[in-house]
Symmetry: C2
Subunit: 263 residues, 2 copies
């Protein structure tokens, strides 16, 4: 079992309206089973998702579906939000790096649809049965630093679903469902980097993960908030509880004791 | 920019007291700049971290430093805890898969020390300047499925620290610090899998990430709870707040209104 990850060198700068499939196909010889990890930023650029930087804070607000956590630092405010794509992260995916001065870039409106369009066009153009992932760089709870994750997917399995199979000792792997799409995006980051100007990586040798274009997309990786034990920041949850407890005690008068029913 | 990831085939089953460095060196020809991603499970086995399964719930409790979140399902209880290694995850890293029936496996006591011992021995034995990561499989907030992350590291940079550098457009990459150790662990999972019996992957071609044996370990990836916006589960935080608000309202009497000072 072996695979390689290679950065696609020499891609020209992407502008609104560019044909990404043509640009990629001109830069690399694609083969059956290749998985392309494409920095979502260049898809955004091709789709014209650039806005003036004067609107950055407003752009973040516009892209926000739900505020998950905020913290004020001496240098400003961190806003962890759920964006229109369902992704939870800082600044709603509004990106001010690697863009011309005075502008910011929004995520593609529907990253799975963008991935599907790109995969469809690449398959048609090259004849190679390839998969496409769109990647973005995000921080995460509990661990420092960022990793790249998959925000769009087409023609590639996003999970290696092992539920129902057994381990080497014959025991069922009941809940094991590796998110291979995120692992592939992470592997791609290792060659694409942040400052290198290499926006596409080709993963070769994992043909087993490539499939039809109508496989579930990266949206299926997003856990619904009502199933998430960390759907709201700790301080925000505490404050919600505090208000509720305070109001309840006032409504019921001073003699009533808190009960499990309240929680 | 290109690297490869290859599973090490033919490793024998690992038992307590086994010399892992000798077993790995016998199975693969190591080169300068190789990074070994080693499933922490085989390190645990070599270190004799196996306990009787009758003690599984007790073992989880013993390994728990702090309960972060719990949820009761029809089939049982999920406990998200911080374990002795500082890692937040389900079941404190107590593992019942791929172990003999009737036993569970605990994580290495000090995964960074285990990684350092293995890297030191491999370098001495083979003469190749290699790095070693110990990996474990964990779920995460907000996203379904699991990814492999690095719980131990030696001789390899855990972050690709870009703070202070600039992007392709010349703007500073102020907060970008990719956690390459987690990305490498994720890449390794793609060849090791869960049921394949391949416990070691060799990443070749990322020599730039290999360094001296005294680089910071994977413990440095763990974000301290007091800096984490999700240090406690949403329900647990709400309940703490509720009790505090309820008590405060009772102490102060029914006429006082909640104020920002309370939150």
């Amino acid at each position: 079992m072996r695979f390689s990850v290679e950065g696609v060198e020499g891609m020209p700068e992407v502008s609104e309206g560019d044909d990404l499939a043509a640009m990629i196909a001109a830069s690399v010889e694609l083969e059956d089973g290749d998985i392309l990890v494409v920095t979502s930023k260049i898809v955004s650029k091709a789709e014209g998702r650039i806005v003036a930087a004067a609107d950055r804070e407003q752009a973040i607000t516009d892209e926000t579906v739900r505020v998950v956590a905020t913290r004020t630092y001496p240098g400003g405010v961190t806003r962890i939000v759920e964006n229109r794509q369902g992704i939870i992260g800082a600044a709603a995916g509004v990106d001010a790096s690697n863009t011309p001065h005075g502008t910011v870039l929004l995520l593609p409106i529907d990253p799975d649809a963008s991935a599907r369009a790109l995969a469809t066009e690449l398959r048609a153009r090259t004849g190679a049965r390839v998969g496409v992932l769109l990647s973005d760089t995000l921080g995460r709870p509990w661990r420092e630093g960022q990793t790249d994750i998959a925000i769009g997917a087409a023609g590639v399995h996003v999970f290696d679903d092992l539920r129902g199979t057994t381990d080497a000792a014959g025991k069922p792997l009941a809940v094991t469902m590796p998110c291979v799409a995120d692992e592939l995006a992470a592997a791609g980051e290792l060659v694409k980097g942040k400052s290198s100007g290499v926006p596409v990586a080709i993963v070769r040798g994992l043909d087993r993960l490539v499939g039809p274009l109508d496989l579930p997309g990266a949206r299926s990786i997003v856990r619904p908030a009502d199933r998430d034990l960390f759907h709201l920041g700790s301080d925000e949850s505490y404050n919600e509880g505090y208000r509720a407890g305070f109001d309840e005690a006032q409504a019921e008068g001073p003699l009533r004791e808190i009960s499990d029913r309240d929680l």
